[in-house]
């Protein structure tokens, strides 16, 4: 595709949600003319329930702006030595490895070992005083000097009124994200772009904020600059660990979208309206999940849930077994909603052996019994209806196979409807059953995604052949589509498959998506 048309369309994308004439003529050559945001398969009929369901632009926008203002540092020649210091801090880390307290996590690892250094992606969080807060692998204590060096790098560049963004060296990228009062550093040996890695660091930042609120974080570090934040985060490291795992595996985090449990429209409507009926004064969001899939979401009028906040909630629910034993009641900050305060979430499974988890988000910390009561009312109402049985049936096959689409060469795909912020994807076919293969495929999708969202030269259409599969990615104002074909397919066939797939999704949209979200 030629560069001019791309740039123009990108400009349009951010400008408006409504179909514009210019836009239409621009898109006339596409195989599905007239498919603009709000009319694509899976688009919501009323109003979306996600705020800014656009794409991941809103996630990285802040950082981008800042960086643009302050210029870019990417001098690999000069920084290579520093990187050596960073990655190869052998003697000092060894020394400190002795000091590791017996209480530290089980994921303890020898930081001087080759195994530790060869992890594909490291994530470090430190305070602006250079104190370690989190490391993905190994223990923070042993890394205090390494993190000191990281902080030194950040401060050194900052002293010139500049911001360090990344260091590239020898198949290794070091990405920096300064989010006062925290500094996040990613060290990656993957092919992901800086932007992708930055997005992941943002998620980690939001994860920490969701536990403590930004107000509390600021307050702590204003009072005591060298505070050891691990004290407050103790016992929650597993949430960050799991989130990082999800970032490698979950297409939803890549697409900034969530996926739904396939469910017939009528059943979903009954469930939604039962949930809608069980309302309370301070209830803001009611979310029903089936594992990592959304069954339905009811929100207070005019209040939107951001997909990042929903992913954080899903991570919390998915990571902890404690909600299975009883009703959970926990303060939670939804950082994209408000970084200053806590919501209070009532989290419980509908039945002890079931995957259906209900999350009721209230503004009042004394609301436990009201929320518990809401749950009871919802359950009472729902159990009287046959829809509950249908819902339980649907849980047995939470996904669908790609064969149902009827395109022989197609192995897998991701389709995101932009206006609804929802995506759909079939289960992984047999070829991609192993963890390694799934991560490899996710890596390919990530690669496509970063080409389509390249900060300087974004593509709209991208076809790529590898010796194991052929891939096609296509982004329009209405949707994002990523397809994986067998290596025997041709480009022409792939293009024709797109039409067929979009038709199939249109046909199935009321089962695969939530078309009419409800409010209280």
């Amino acid at each position: 595709m030629d560069g001019e048309a791309q740039n123009e369309s990108v400009a349009c994308e951010k400008a408006t949600l409504a179909p514009v004439d210019r836009l239409r003529s621009n898109r006339a050559e596409s195989p599905t003319p007239g498919l603009v945001e709000g009319t694509e398969p899976g688009a919501v009929q009323k109003s979306a329930f996600f705020a800014h369901a656009q794409s991941f632009e809103d996630l990285t926008a802040e950082a981008e702006e800042k960086a643009e203002q302050e210029g870019v540092v990417e001098d690999s020649g000069q920084t290579e030595d520093e990187l050596q210091v960073l990655v190869g801090e052998r003697t000092i880390t060894e020394q400190h490895a002795q000091d590791v307290s017996p209480q530290s996590r089980s994921k303890e690892e020898d930081m001087s070992s080759e195994a530790w250094r060869s992890h594909r992606k490291h994530v470090f969080v430190l305070s602006e005083a250079g104190k370690p807060i989190y490391t993905r692998y190994g223990s923070e204590e042993a890394l205090s000097s390494t993190m000191g060096v990281m902080m030194a790098l950040v401060s050194f560049v900052e002293s010139d009124k500049n911001t360090i963004r990344s260091i590239h060296a020898d198949g290794c990228k070091v990405i920096f994200l300064a989010k006062s009062p925290l500094v996040l550093v990613g060290v990656s040996q993957t092919y992901q772009s800086d932007k992708e890695l930055l997005r992941e660091l943002q998620y980690i930042y939001y994860q920490i904020v969701s536990l403590l609120t930004l107000t509390q974080l600021n307050h702590i570090f204003q009072n005591k600059q060298n505070y050891d934040l691990r004290r407050l985060l103790a016992g929650s490291e597993y949430l960050t660990d799991n989130l990082l795992h999800r970032l490698d595996r979950d297409p939803g985090l890549l697409l900034s979208a969530v996926t739904c449990l396939p469910l017939s429209n009528s059943v979903r409507d009954v469930v939604s309206s039962s949930l809608q009926a069980a309302k309370a004064k301070n209830l803001v969001f009611s979310i029903l999940l089936a594992g990592d899939r959304l069954v339905t979401l009811v929100r207070k009028k005019d209040q939107f849930l951001h997909h990042i906040d929903l992913h954080l909630v899903m991570n919390l629910v998915g990571s902890s077994s404690s909600f299975r034993e009883g009703e959970g009641w926990t303060p939670i900050c939804l950082p994209k909603f408000n970084t200053a305060g806590f919501f209070h979430a009532h989290i419980s499974y509908l039945e002890s052996a079931s995957d259906l988890c209900l999350i009721l988000v209230s503004t009042d910390r004394e609301d436990f019994f009201n929320m518990s009561d809401c749950k009871q009312r919802f359950l009472e109402r729902l159990t009287k209806r046959t829809a509950y049985q249908a819902l339980k049936e649907a849980l047995k096959c939470p996904s669908y196979s790609v064969e149902q689409v009827g395109i022989p060469e197609l192995r897998h795909f991701l389709y995101k409807s932009k206006s609804s912020g929802l995506y759909t994807s079939p289960e992984f076919p047999e070829l991609y059953q192993s963890d390694e293969e799934q991560e490899r495929l996710m890596g390919l999708y990530q690669d496509l995604h970063s080409h389509l969202h390249h900060p300087v030269r974004p593509l709209r259409f991208f076809y790529r052949c590898t010796n194991k599969e052929n891939l096609l990615a296509w982004v329009t104002n209405g949707f994002q589509l990523y397809l994986c074909f067998s290596p025997l397919g041709t480009k022409a066939m792939a293009v024709s498959a797109v039409n067929k797939l979009l038709k199939w999704i249109r046909k199935e949209e009321d089962r695969l998506f939530i078309l009419s979200p409800l409010t209280y």
Partner: protein
């Protein structure tokens, strides 16, 4: 479904007026009935409004259910959730750190009363401390748990004790000091004697338990039930008064809607 339940309850109540409700409650629990508690209250008030009041209980039989608020406090990783799981399910599973607070209920049947334990299993992590007063406020039983193999948790439990004592109203809360993980005797850092003397000094009951093996867990719960009933329930304005008010508050709205829905169906 409500109709069926009412029939069952009818049958039980007329046949065994004295123990009927107790059994009915069990039945409902077995059915996994969501509205068991509200139903129980409905039945009670409908058939024998006097039965819910302690003072004028003419039958003198176990028809009453009193609510007991119990809170588990202590440092992180001492086994509060595991103890709670033992109380409620009599099983052990390794758990991840509790997020916020977990709430569960468990019925204990004493000779002449049933106690509905409402267990607040709090998170030991420091970041949740600001919300913990929500859970220990008005608790009838407070279990302060430490890990006998970690001295640090024994100090932490004393901090909790100090905090509780600030809000303590004599006679309203029964407090226990619990040395958990008694199965880790070989790695013990806090001797049983130390636990005993701390408890004796501060007027607490003391026991060492093991959530892993289940040692002394049932005894503990039975003991708590008896003590709470004796100390708090026996008092004027103890359990009973406390029981009625929040119960009505909580289910009042529900009761009326439930009644109508029962009648309709």
């Amino acid at each position: 479904m409500a109709l069926v339940h009412e029939e069952v309850a009818d049958a039980i109540c007329t046949k065994h007026a004295e123990t009927g409700l107790c059994f009915y409650f069990h039945y409902l629990e077995k059915q996994g009935c969501a509205c068991s508690v509200s139903h129980l209250v409905v039945m009670n008030t409908q058939r024998d409004p006097v039965a819910t009041q302690l003072s004028s209980d003419t039958l003198g039989r176990p028809v009453r259910t009193l609510r007991v608020k119990m809170v588990l406090l202590g440092g992180s990783g001492v086994g509060k959730s595991s103890l709670a799981l033992r109380f409620v399910r009599s099983e052990f599973r390794s758990t991840v750190p509790t997020v916020g607070c977990a709430y569960m209920t468990h019925m204990i049947h004493l000779r002449d009363v049933s106690l509905r334990f409402e267990i607040w299993d709090t998170a030991g992590q420091e970041k949740y401390h600001s919300v913990t007063p929500l859970y220990y406020r008005g608790a009838h039983a407070a279990l302060l748990v430490y890990d006998i193999s970690k001295r640090e948790t024994f100090y932490r439990v004393q901090l909790w004790l100090q905090e509780l004592e600030k809000h303590y109203i004599p006679g309203s809360t029964v407090m226990w000091l619990i040395g958990n993980k008694a199965d880790l005797g070989h790695a013990r850092q806090v001797s049983e004697q130390e636990g005993h003397s701390l408890a004796a000094d501060r007027g607490l009951y003391f026991i060492e338990t093991s959530a892993l093996s289940g040692d002394h867990v049932d005894e503990l719960l039975q003991d708590v039930a008896h003590r709470v009933y004796e100390c708090v329930g026996g008092q004027q304005g103890g359990l009973s008064e406390w029981e009625e008010k929040p119960c009505e508050d909580l289910h009042h709205r529900d009761m009326s809607s439930l009644l109508t829905s029962c009648c309709k169906s």
